[in-house]
Symmetry: C2
Subunit: 159 residues, 2 copies
DNA sequence: GCCTCGGTACTCGGATAAATCTTGTCCGAGTTGAAAAGG
DNA sequence: CCTTTTCAACTCGGACAAGATTTATCCGAGTACCGAGGC
């Protein structure tokens, strides 16, 4: 159960977009160069963020990506769901209803294994939903105040 | 981020081993036939459970798998870790230390994105670790008391 | 000097291959149990 | 009838392919900016 690497890229890119601010659009090439990532593939992740409504995309010269909302309104869950999709990691295939183990009763109760796994995923999602990009920004500012300054300067200097 | 299907199989199989009890060893073929699963592949999952110490395996005629501990001592996390591995789903590759975005400071603070994601996974793991096979058994007994009876009967009749 | 028009460069967006992981299958090593032979 | 020996069947265990998902790449459609030409 390895999470897609694009999630890490998307989170860091959202953070960078937050540093730059919503006024200026940052093209994929700049976001990719900042961490030496493959630009074409990062673009794919940013497209997913755009489809999910996390970022706006504007084509043409001077175009690129901007945060669609304030960092306070973007949770980590928003980003993860945008990249990984909405469906749960554990998917109950109802094996209990196949073979000799099947219970022929018509009103089948919900699969308790599924319920237990789902409870764990809900806890995971809740923890992700409780953290916003803005809170991440605040934590970074406190731990390493020079990071946002450097990022803003670099992106301002990169056309 | 789809979880391996083997997790579902392993959980249901552990439940069935719990119904049968630790006295009798159940071979892979019986566990697979109960849900019409591919026996050879289910065997692979059971091997993983054996390596993790969740079940005992005994070869030869009359052999098979038994729970290695009481159902109260087996958590859902034990089973999931046995199948999926111990490493986290989100793996920080430290992209922040590559390219122009790298902070040249020697004492690098921990990656806050990684910390945030890890917090969510810890919540997930905690929820899984809080539920045991025995509790699942109790829930099934209450929701559908005939299920354990049917299972015991079927496995007793299957050599 | 101001407006209009055309071109060019730049951006995203989706369609298209390579790599890696999951899923599925197979056969061999080892062990047990039973049956058969001997005492 | 009891003991010993041999055999055969059954079990797990790891090595070996097929399919699916992730990763990576490319080129085309569309847009905004910039310059040139005309009014």
């Amino acid at each position: 159960m390895r999470m897609a690497e694009g999630v890490e890229w998307a989170l860091h890119s959202c953070l960078n977009l937050a540093w730059v601010g919503p006024e200026r659009a940052v093209p994929t090439a700049a976001l990719a160069a900042f961490y030496e990532l493959p630009a074409a593939y990062l673009n794919k992740q940013l497209q997913a963020l755009a489809r999910a409504g996390v970022v706006y995309s504007t084509p043409g010269p001077g175009g690129g990506f901007r945060l669609a909302r304030d960092p306070e309104q973007i949770t980590l869950l928003d980003v993860v769901v945008a990249i990984e999709g909405r469906e749960d990691a554990f998917q109950c295939t109802e094996i209990r209803q196949r073979g000799p183990g099947a219970t022929p009763d018509a009103p089948t109760a919900p699969c308790l294994v599924d319920q237990a796994m789902r409870r764990a995923e809900i806890a995971w999602r809740a923890e992700l939903a409780s953290q916003t990009i803005a809170e991440l920004q605040a934590a970074v500012r406190q731990a390493a105040p020079e990071v946002p300054v450097r990022a803003r300067q670099w992106f301002a200097a990169t056309p």
